[in-house]
Every structure is written in structure tokens, then in C-alpha cells.
């Protein structure tokens, strides 16, 4: 089992979700996050007062998947979240020791 964490541009979320649905992913967790990478921030100007916005809004997706699905999922996210411009985000893949479905008590691959 792996945990896949992807940071993407917020407006790409729907496309990514649809692509994941298509390959049979049954659950994802989404959060609104802020951060910076190579894209850096931008400046805002209000009546002459200039503010640098360092942290840009992004969306973080977390998906727990069985090992055999990892490549497909990473590929789906990569293809759909890509604009080709700076700030498209990152995908992290990390090992996952276990999972439990709280309602039934199922464990491991069966729980996800």
C-alpha cells in the first residue's frame, strides 16, 4: 500500500477527480493549502500600499492505494493536472503500513 499526496492548482481539482474516478479510485481526501515553490508569490496593491503575497493557494489530494494501482494513479494525476506552466505542483508517493475501515474493522488493502 502507498499513500499518494499531490499538490495541484485549485482549478484542476475537478479534472483530476474525474480521471481518478475513471481508473476506479473510490475515495480521496482534499484540503485547501497554501505554500510556495518555484512559482514564488505575487504583489497586491491597495491605494498605494503594496503587499507581497508569499503563499499561493493550492489544493492537496491524499489517496491511499494498493501497490498495483500506484503507477496508474500517479500517471492520471500527472496528465490531468499539467498545464506546462510554473506552479503545476508535485506528487509524493510514500509507504503506508496499514489501514482500517472504522465501520467494519477491515484491514489492509480491503480497507481502502
Amino acid at each position: 500500500m502507498k499513500l499518494i499526496e499531490a499538490i495541484i492548482k485549485p482549478f484542476k481539482l475537478d479534472e483530476v477527480k474525474d480521471a481518478l474516478n475513471e481508473i476506479g479510485i473510490e475515495g480521496i481526501t482534499v484540503s485547501e493549502v497554501k505554500g510556495f515553490g518555484r512559482q514564488k508569490g505575487h504583489t497586491e496593491l491597495y491605494r498605494g500600499a503594496e503587499y507581497v503575497v508569499d503563499f499561493i493557494p493550492k489544493v492537496k489530494i491524499e489517496i491511499a492505494v494498493a501497490d498495483e494501482l500506484v503507477a496508474k494513479v500517479v500517471n492520471a494525476i500527472e496528465q490531468t493536472a499539467k498545464t506546462g506552466r510554473i506552479g503545476d505542483g508535485k506528487i509524493f508517493v510514500m509507504p503506508l503500513d496499514d489501514a482500517v475501515r472504522i465501520r467494519t474493522g477491515e484491514k489492509g488493502d480491503e480497507a481502502i
Binding site: E44, Y46, G48, Y51
Partner: protein
């Protein structure tokens, strides 16, 4: 182009005035020459009340002498006769609507200011405007109207206390039926509205003026101190200034100072007073390094719209005190309505373009600020200038106020929401420019009347000096007693929670 326009107006004005004038002179000579001559001996033309008593009835239609514009009154043997006021229901209806329009500006201001602060201070900022409606609403009925528009105490400085609690605005005749006092702007014309309506109209001005000051104090002023300030400032600064400029025996009115709807009384006074209070209050914690961006510009832009809407009552309604104007809902109101439309439109565009060139992008806040700057600058001039001049004033207003706001960023004093940058600077510029562009009911520099410009400068200087000195005294007393500022922790937590135990967004 302007000078041509101005000259043309002057010509048409003089021909309009001269023809009936000649007829009148003839009639007066034939019918009432002996009496009129006697009257001329007895009374100066500036005091039509005494002269008119002896004049022939034929002189009545020539309403030339009005208290607010003694300049316009030529010496004539047939001085106009004073007439009893007659209720004009059309004017009354318009003034009732105007009063409500001006009232609506204050919640508009609450939105305008509320959107520009951080989300932790939005309720406190809106409350500054709303509580002014409460405090001034009561103060005006109890004492404010009497101090502003009561009979003069002497030297045109302040009204007396004879109209405390609006005393005398309704009396009871022998039959026990109520008799409502009437407000008549021109003594020689019958047109009048109930004095209740006039006093309520003026009340709304007092409310919004002190609320304008709150823009400079936002995000750090202690609510209790603010409430005391509102009461003291309205009583000691606003009420006398309103008397000076708008009461027929106020000293600036007698001098011929032009202020159609409140450039000096409302905007200049609130703007300069804001600057004085800043001296005691100091900057917001973290200014200018911490991010203090507006939390909701949509609120601010709705506020701009409501202010503009209400401003039609503010300016067009002010025809009720226009010089020589006995129709509150006539042509003069139409002119003021027009200039109140076009000057802010031009000023919004000017600010937007200036910002586009200077800072790179045309911002929504910039356009909205420009509209308000245009409204401020046209306020003293609304019924004195023609639409062409209003467009020029809009351009000047947009540029000057944009400069004023930029200057704040450079000098780094913390006028949070630019009460001085927009109202102080815009009000002053507008009051001075009224003395330049006036062609309707008065003449300014472009019509060759240098004296009017000098009068405007005197009015601006004395109103600013009075507001600064009195506000300094009020500020000093509050500063030394309860203090203006909230505690450091309270300021960081936000005024909504610490001053009002509420939060805006849950």
C-alpha cells in the same frame, strides 16, 4: 472651450436678468418712486427686510437679494418685498426623499469602510458609522439643530438655544390644531417646506460628517472614546461650522462664501479633524510592514454604489438652501443632480487611468475611491457650476485625491481608510475650485470674479483652522483622560471580539 461656455452663460444670464429688471425699474418709477426713494435712503440694499416693507407690490417678482448671496444684489430703488411662506408640497415630498437618501449614505459608508479593514475589525468599523447615527440623531434633536440653525447668538458664530428639542417647529393654534413652522429659503418668495423636514434633512448631514472621521481611526480606537468624540465633535465643531456657512446670518454665509452641499462644513472639517486625531492616536500596530489588505472589496464597492445613490439627495437636495432658490425640486436641483452624476464618473475614470499608468493595473478599489473623490470635490460646487466644469473638477478631483493617498504611503502616517486623503484634500480642493468655476447663481475666477476665489480661500482657511484647533482640544482631553487606543492584546485580537464580543463571519 470653458471660457466660451462661461462667457455665453454670463451673457444669457445677464440678458435674462436685465430685461425684467428694466421693466421692473420702469414700474417702480411709475408706481412707487417716492416711497422707494425713501426706502433707499433708509436702508442699505443688503438688508432687504427693512427696505422691502416700504416697496411697491410690483417689486415682488424680482427676487434678487438673498441672504446667502449678498454679492448678487444690485442697488435698486425697488427692493423686493418679503412674503409669507407658503407650503410647497412638491418640494416637501422631494426633501423627505432627499433626507432618507442622505440617511442611507451612512450605512453605505459603513460598508465602504467595513470592506477595507481586516476581517477582525469589520463590525467595529461599521459600528463607528452606525453609532454616529444613534448619537447624532439624538444630539441633533436635543441641541444640535438649535446650535446650527437657531437664531444667531451674535456675530454669526452660533445659534441660540431657542430650538432645543426642536421647540417651536409645531405649535397649536387657538382651535387647538397643530401649526407647523415653515422653512422659507428666500424671504421674498413664498416657496417653503415644513421646518421639521428641513431639520431632519440637516440632521443626516451631521450624522455622516462625524462618521467620515472614523475612517482614520479604524482598527485601533477604543469604542467608548469614539462615542465621546462623536458627541463632542458634532456639538463643538460641526454645529458651529454649519451655522457659519449655511445659516443665513452665519458670518461666512454673509461674506458670500459658496458651499453648496458641504465641501467645507462636511468634507474639509472631517478630513482635517481626522488628521488631528491621528496625532493622538498613532499608527496601527504593525503598520506599514504587516499585511493590512482590505478583507472584502465587494462590501466596499457596494458601499461606493450606496454612497453615490445617497449623494443625489445630499447635493440635489441642497437646492433647498441654494442662493436665490425658492424651489427645492426645480432646475437648480436638476443641475446639482447632473454634476453629481458626471463629476464622480469622470473622477473614477481619472483615478483608474492614473493608477493604470502609475502602478500598472486599474484596480477596483481605485475606481471606487475615485468615484468618492469626485463626489467629494463636486459637493461644494454642485449647484454653482455647469456640467463642463463638473467634468474638469472630476479630473482634478481624481488626480488630487490619488496624489493625496499616494502621499500617505510615502509619508507613512496611518490614516487607515484615507479620511484625510480623500475628504480633507478633496473637500478643500472642491471648495477652492467652486470659486474658480462658479457660473450659476454666483461667479468665480473664470467669469472674472477674483473676489469669490479670495472669499473661498478665507472660508477654507477659517473652517480648517477652527476644526483643527477645536478637534485638538477635544483630542487632548480624551487622550489625557480615558485615552483613544485599545490595549495591545485587544488590537491584535481585533476590535470586534474585544470591543463588541462578536465576530463578523461565523
Amino acid at each position: 472651450m470653458m471660457s466660451e461656455d462661461a462667457a455665453e452663460t454670463k451673457r444669457s444670464l445677464s440678458s435674462r436678468v436685465m430685461v425684467p429688471f428694466a421693466k421692473l425699474l420702469l414700474a417702480a418709477c411709475l408706481l412707487a418712486a417716492p416711497i422707494a426713494a425713501q426706502a433707499e435712503d433708509k436702508a442699505a440694499p443688503a438688508a432687504p427686510a427693512t427696505a422691502a416693507a416700504h416697496a411697491a407690490p410690483a417689486a415682488a417678482p424680482a427676487a434678487v437679494a438673498a441672504p446667502a448671496a449678498a454679492v448678487a444684489a444690485p442697488a435698486t430703488p425697488a427692493a423686493p418685498k418679503n412674503v409669507d411662506p407658503v407650503l410647497n408640497t412638491g418640494d416637501t415630498a422631494w426633501m423627505l426623499v432627499s433626507s432618507a437618501l442622505v440617511l442611507f449614505m451612512t450605512p453605505g459608508l459603513a460598508l465602504f469602510y467595513g470592506g477595507m479593514v481586516r476581517s477582525k475589525n469589520v463590525l467595529s468599523t461599521m459600528m463607528h458609522s452606525l453609532v454616529a447615527m444613534g448619537i447624532v440623531g439624538v444630539q441633533w434633536v436635543v441641541i444640535g439643530y438649535s446650535l446650527s440653525f437657531g437664531p444667531d447668538l451674535g456675530h454669526g458664530l452660533l445659534g441660540n438655544l431657542s430650538k432645543v428639542l426642536l421647540h417651536g417647529l409645531v405649535t397649536f393654534g387657538k382651535d387647538g390644531l397643530p401649526v407647523y413652522a415653515l422653512f422659507q429659503n428666500v424671504p421674498t418668495e413664498p416657496g417653503a417646506i415644513p421646518e421639521f423636514v428641513f431639520s431632519m434633512y440637516q440632521c443626516m448631514f451631521a450624522m455622516i460628517t462625524v462618521a467620515l472621521v472614523s475612517g482614520a481611526l479604524a482598527e485601533r480606537v477604543k469604542f467608548s472614546a469614539y462615542c465621546i468624540f462623536v458627541l463632542a465633535w458634532t456639538t463643538l465643531v460641526y454645529d458651529p461650522l454649519a451655522h457659519w456657512v449655511w445659516m443665513s446670518d452665519g458670518w461666512l454665509a454673509k461674506m458670500g462664501a459658496l458651499d453648496f452641499a458641504g465641501g467645507t462644513v462636511v468634507h474639509l472639517s472631517s478630513g482635517f479633524s481626522a488628521l488631528v486625531i491621528l496625532y493622538f492616536l498613532g499608527k496601527r500596530r504593525g503598520f506599514p510592514n504587516e499585511r493590512m489588505a482590505p478583507h472584502s472589496l465587494p462590501l466596499t464597492l457596494i458601499g461606493v454604489g450606496i454612497l453615490w445613490f445617497g449623494w443625489f439627495g445630499f447635493n440635489a437636495g441642497s437646492a433647498i438652501v441654494g442662493p436665490n432658490c425658492s424651489d427645492a425640486s426645480g432646475g437648480l436641483a436638476g443641475l446639482a443632480f447632473t454634476t453629481t452624476m458626471v463629476a464622480p464618473a469622470m473622477a473614477g475614470l481619472t483615478w483608474m487611468i492614473a493608477e493604470w499608468i502609475h502602478a500598472g493595473k486599474p484596480s477596483a478599489l481605485g475606481f471606487g475611491s475615485g468615484v468618492v473623490a469626485g463626489l467629494v470635490i463636486i459637493t461644494p460646487a454642485a449647484g454653482f457650476v455647469q456640467p463642463g466644469a463638473a467634468i474638469i473638477m472630476g479630473i482634478i478631483g481624481g488626480l488630487v485625491c490619488y496624489g493625496g493617498v499616494m502621499m500617505k504611503a510615502k509619508l507613512s502616517y496611518d490614516d487607515s481608510l484615507d479620511a484625510f486623503g480623500v475628504h480633507g484634500i478633496g473637500g478643500t480642493t472642491g471648495a477652492i475650485l467652486t470659486g474658480v468655476f462658479a457660473t450659476v447663481g454666483a461667479t468665480g475666477l473664470t467669469s472674472g470674479n477674483v473676489k469669490q476665489l479670495v472669499t473661498q480661500l478665507v472660508a477654507v482657511g477659517s473652517a480648517a483652522a477652527y476644526a483643527v484647533v477645536l478637534t485638538f482640544v477635544i483630542g487632548f482631553v480624551i487622550h489625557k483622560t480615558i485615552g483613544f487606543r485599545v490595549e495591545k492584546e485587544d488590537e491584535i485580537m481585533g476590535l470586534d471580539q474585544t470591543q463588541h464580543s462578536e465576530s463578523a463571519y461565523n
